[in-house]
């Protein structure tokens, strides 16, 4: 019974939170946004007292059902483990608690949280890990399916679906997500909840509470025949049938052991009669655990080296796209399309963070790097940072779109208070950066038309939503002088990136936005 309830709730919660990450249309977050906001670490970072207290109370009453139901990474591991168990039944054994690993990791995590070391926090936090996997690996699949439907619908002149672009937001993030999925997937396949009970800081923290839970799983020694079925079906490896004890710090209250016991010797609730307080053992299965630690280490090293190769990868893919072009001899006045070179991210001295994030510091302190904002951004502006300190946290860039005035979706979904909810009115007057003009890249100073006159452009000024850009002749004494965006009014520019995005200079725009450490209202 306990198992059935747990399974039903877990599947519902998992599907809900996964859909939240997959949906790119901006409709589901109104309904499912809460599934992210009830995650423990985001709630702590957002100082969401209601959620924190509720989760603590739930754990103190029911045990770690958070890990079994609410945590999507936990449920994902259960699914992987279940797939293995279908092939090989009764495959688990009891192992001792790895305190030497659990508690240091929790300590490191807390320090990282307080010190605002986002990258460390992001790698260790389970909800973020799930977010990275969902955004980088699952969302593209979801989008491709959608695009297939859109193509079919389009064929029948229906606009029920629209096509969306699938792109590599960051090679480093993609590689990290694959690495995390492989490591955690392997651990789950092999040992069920190994990750949750040795690495996961949320698991360790809730484990501290669940030792004192009101309701727990107990063994009734008077009925137990020591068949070991409970232990062999415990994915948390916490039931020691030989000694009749259960490590409640690791038990995620899944109910599998109860389900398997033929003698009703294991039950969930208050203890039936006086029994000794469950003891936890100190020695551990050290060989298995050091393997785990080693895998983690390899993963983070791989992420680092791939990060270095990111720029090369982006440039490489740009070239690959350019070379698919067809050569066209000259202007034949009969059709054809010019190749459009891919834009590259300009070198920004300060990264741009989205409106609502208040400042780089606020972002660093609160962001768990769950990628929800990145998955949500409809304008292909947000992408995970590749910087080591802010690794995986969102940064903005405008090669594929700009921060459009009618959108505040990232601020609505952020569960951790890194991007605070912001109204469209406030957003339109929030300065997140400033436009900077690079004269030697500007098309009117470079290109000439067929008669050899300078090209007129002014696309930046035409598209500036605040009218901050004034076009003026480069040389005031020459009437044929090209018109360029000479004056950019810093008191009007909000850094939305419309100018950078529509600038025809490629691969690097001639006008680009520099981020501001601290946002301000204009």
């Amino acid at each position: 019974m306990l198992k059935k309830i747990r399974k039903t709730l877990a599947v519902l919660a998992f599907v809900a939170v996964t859909l939240l990450f997959l949906d790119f249309t901006g409709t589901l977050h109104h309904w499912l946004g809460w599934t992210a906001k009830v995650q423990l670490v985001p709630a702590v970072l957002a100082l969401n007292v209601v959620v924190i207290v509720a989760l603590a109370l739930i754990t103190l009453i029911f045990g770690r059902i958070y890990c079994s139901v609410i945590c999507p990474l936990g449920v994902m591991q259960d699914v992987i483990s279940w797939l293995h168990s279908r092939r090989k039944k009764n495959r688990f054994t009891y192992s001792k608690e790895m305190r030497w690993l659990r508690y240091p990791v929790l300590l490191i995590f807390i320090v990282a949280m307080i010190a605002g070391i986002g990258s460390l926090m992001a790698i260790l936090e389970p909800y973020s890990t799930f977010g990275m996997i969902a955004t980088n690996l699952l969302q593209p699949v979801y989008q491709w399916c959608n695009n297939g439907l859109a193509a079919i619908a389009g064929h029948y002149n229906s606009y029920a679906f629209y096509s969306t672009e699938v792109w590599v937001k960051s090679a480093a993030a993609l590689a990290t997500s694959i690495a995390l999925l492989l490591v955690i997937g392997y651990l789950a396949w092999r040992g069920g909840r190994t990750y949750c009970n040795t690495v996961c800081p949320v698991g360790t923290f809730l484990g501290l509470l669940s030792r004192f839970s009101l309701l727990k799983v107990h063994i009734d020694e008077s009925k137990c025949i020591k068949c070991g079925m409970c232990t062999r079906n415990c994915k948390a490896s916490c039931v020691d049938f030989k000694n009749g004890t259960i490590d409640h710090s690791r038990c995620v209250t899944c109910g599998n052991c109860i389900d398997k016991c033929h003698k009703d010797a294991i039950y969930y609730g208050r203890p039936r009669k006086a029994q000794k307080f469950p003891s936890t053992t100190e020695e551990g299965n050290q060989v298995a655990m050091s393997t785990t630690a080693h895998d983690e280490n390899v993963a983070s090293q791989a992420a680092q080296s791939i990060d270095k190769g990111k720029r090369a990868f982006l440039i490489g893919s740009g070239i690959a796209i350019a070379t698919t072009a067809m050569a066209q001899a000259k202007k034949k006045v009969d059709g054809g399309l010019a190749t459009i070179e891919q834009k590259q991210m300009p070198e920004r001295k300060t990264p741009i963070t989205p409106p609502g994030s208040i400042s780089a510091r606020n972002m660093a302190r609160h962001c768990v790097a769950c990628q929800l904002c990145v998955a949500e951004c409809p304008n292909q502006v947000l992408r995970p940072s590749a910087d080591m300190l802010t690794f995986m946290q969102p940064i903005m860039s405008y090669e594929r779109g700009y921060c459009r005035p009618e959108c505040n979706r990232c601020s609505q979904v952020c569960p951790a208070g890194a991007i605070k909810p912001i109204s469209l009115e406030v957003k339109s007057s929030t300065k997140i950066g400033k436009a900077v003009w690079t004269h030697f890249l500007c098309i009117p100073t470079k290109d000439k038309d067929e008669e050899g006159n300078p090209i007129s452009c002014g696309n930046c000024a035409r598209h500036c939503p605040t009218g901050a850009i004034t076009m003026a002749p480069l040389n005031e004494n020459d009437e044929n002088s090209p018109m360029v965006p000479l004056a950019i009014d810093d008191s009007k520019c909000i850094g939305c990136g419309a100018c950078e995005h529509v600038c025809p200079a490629r691969p690097v725009a001639a006008i680009h936005v520099e981020g501001l450490e601290d946002h301000r209202t204009i």
Binding site: G26, T27, A150, G154, Y159, Y162, S163, E165, I321, T324, A325, M326, A327, Q328, A329, K330, K331, K332, V333, D334, G335, G336, L337, A338, T339, I340, E341, R404, P405, E406, C407, I443, K446, D447, K448, D449, E450, I455, S456, C457, G458, N459, R462, H463, V502, P504, A505, R506, P507
Partner: protein, 467 residues
């Protein structure tokens, strides 16, 4: 990026996808009628006689600018796939068999592949069974020298596998930012026109004329030369259809009504060759209400057939050109002209009423001819206009948020926009350099129109983010 580099290359996958979409939209022109070879009469084609030399020319002329490519679609849209020569041969055979004898091509059509394909198909038939029209398409300033233009003419003879051309046109006179200046650069300053006259005397050209778009000063001037005896025009190619007859100037004040052009030719007994009888397909693809009106009048006639009958009715018309990609277009058009049922005065009034309705829609007068392309900054100009016009036609251009259909129309416009034009080729990336303007035979103020569409798109995007 260097602009020259832009000009030299035309892009990969994006082209293919957008081209396929464009092809789907523009080639369905004559749709709605089921037709097979058995329905097409033989030996009934209407012919007109060229007063200069007695040529008996079929009223339907085969325009070779939208030849089919392998795998479907037309060579006008799909530029990186070879022409489907087998189908071209089959179509040309069918056309000749059913009385079509005028074939109009140009060195510029299908990215330069049209003449060769036409030559291959026609050279399989006796030379005296068909008339070939081709053009001196020296648009590129690099071909403005006499030598380069001569090379272009001789190359046409070679590609077409002929010793002489029946009808040679100076291509698109009146086009360019300054029509007069460009005409002088292309044909007068280099002595090319005089050389062409010599070729006519030498028998390499049987009829010399021009196709006209744009600046009326060039048209008037050329006819004045004809009056004064400086030059003689055997024929002139003009745009004529029931919209342009009285409304060309109303739609774009830089253009001239076909009524005037045709009357000027008639005064001088110069036969008129008609292009754009369907306005690039727009008169085959009219709003549903108009199509219903036409069907009510004649349930058996296609929408396109009205336009063809209209263009073929004036007696001074030598032939009406249609760029036919598919066999069914060809069959349908042959049927319309076998024989021609002239438009009655009463039907003329009916079409004039329809013309007024279409003008009131305020579509952009783009015929998707693609002369503006390639845009050096990668914009797909005709695809944007085609989408905009399609939305007008389907009633999806709603500007007021209070309209009850606003949300639906908004979605249709925006989703359809992304479907038919890749994002980076949309109107917002037009920098307004205006290099396209001189190339447009319809003289559309392209950057202004793109800016207008861009503003409309912005309005839609900002209006209802939750939809």
């Amino acid at each position: 990026m260097d602009r020259r580099h832009f000009l030299k290359v035309a892009g990969g996958t994006a082209i293919a996808s957008s081209a396929v979409l464009a092809a789907c939209s523009s080639n369905d022109n004559n749709s709605g009628e089921a037709i097979s070879a058995a329905d097409v009469p033989k030996g009934k084609m209407t012919y007109r006689t060229n007063p200069n030399n007695g040529d008996r020319v079929s009223l339907l002329g085969y325009g070779m600018m939208r030849l089919p490519v392998e795998g479907g679609g037309s060579g006008r849209e799909i530029t990186d796939v070879p022409i489907d020569q087998e189908l071209v041969n089959k179509e040309v055979d069918f056309a000749l068999e059913h009385g079509v004898n005028y074939f109009d091509t140009s060195p510029a059509y299908c990215q330069g592949k049209s003449e060769a394909a036409t030559g291959i198909a026609l050279s399989r038939h006796p030379r005296d069974k068909y008339f070939i029209a081709t053009k001196l398409s020296n648009f590129d300033p690099a071909t403005w020298s006499l030598e380069e233009s001569q090379k272009m003419f001789f190359n046409s003879l070679k590609e077409l596998k002929v010793d002489y051309v029946d009808y040679l046109l100076m291509h698109g006179v009146g086009m360019g930012d300054d029509g007069v200046e460009e005409f002088n650069s292309r044909y007068m300053d280099n002595g090319l026109l005089d050389w062409l006259v010599e070729q006519k005397e030498a028998g390499k050209i049987r009829n010399l004329g021009f196709s006209y778009h744009g600046d009326i000063a060039v048209f008037d001037n050329l006819l004045a030369w004809h009056d004064e005896g400086d030059y003689h025009w055997d024929f002139v190619q003009i745009e004529l259809n029931y919209l342009d007859w009285k409304h060309a100037k109303e739609i774009n004040e830089r253009n001239t009504n076909a009524e005037y052009l045709y009357a000027e030719l008639q005064k001088r007994n110069i036969p008129a060759v008609i292009m754009e009888p369907l306005l690039g397909g727009r008169l085959a693809n009219v709003p549903d209400a108009i199509a219903a009106d036409m069907k009510r009048r004649d349930p058996d006639a296609s929408v396109a057939s009205w336009a063809f009958r209209y263009a073929g009715t004036p007696e001074g018309v030598l032939t009406v050109l249609s760029g036919m990609t598919y066999m069914d277009h060809l069959m349908e058009n042959i049927k319309t002209y076998s024989p021609l049922k002239p438009i009655t005065p009463e039907e003329d009034k009916f079409l004039e009423k329809i013309a007024n309705t279409i003008v009131a829609l305020q579509t952009i007068p783009c015929n998707d001819c693609k002369y503006c392309m390639p845009c050096p900054y990668g914009i797909n100009i005709p695809a944007i206009f085609v989408h905009y016009n399609k939305c007008i036609k389907e009633g999806n251009l709603i500007k007021s948020e209070k309209d009850s259909d606003y949300a639906k129309a908004r979605r249709a416009f925006l989703v359809g926009y992304d479907n038919s034009v890749p994002k980076l080729r949309q109107a917002s990336y037009c920098i307004g350099c205006s290099q396209c303007v001189g190339h447009c035979p319809q003289r559309i103020a392209i950057p202004k129109e793109l800016e207008k569409i861009d503003r409309f798109v912005e309005q839609l995007k900002r209006s209802d983010p939750k939809d």
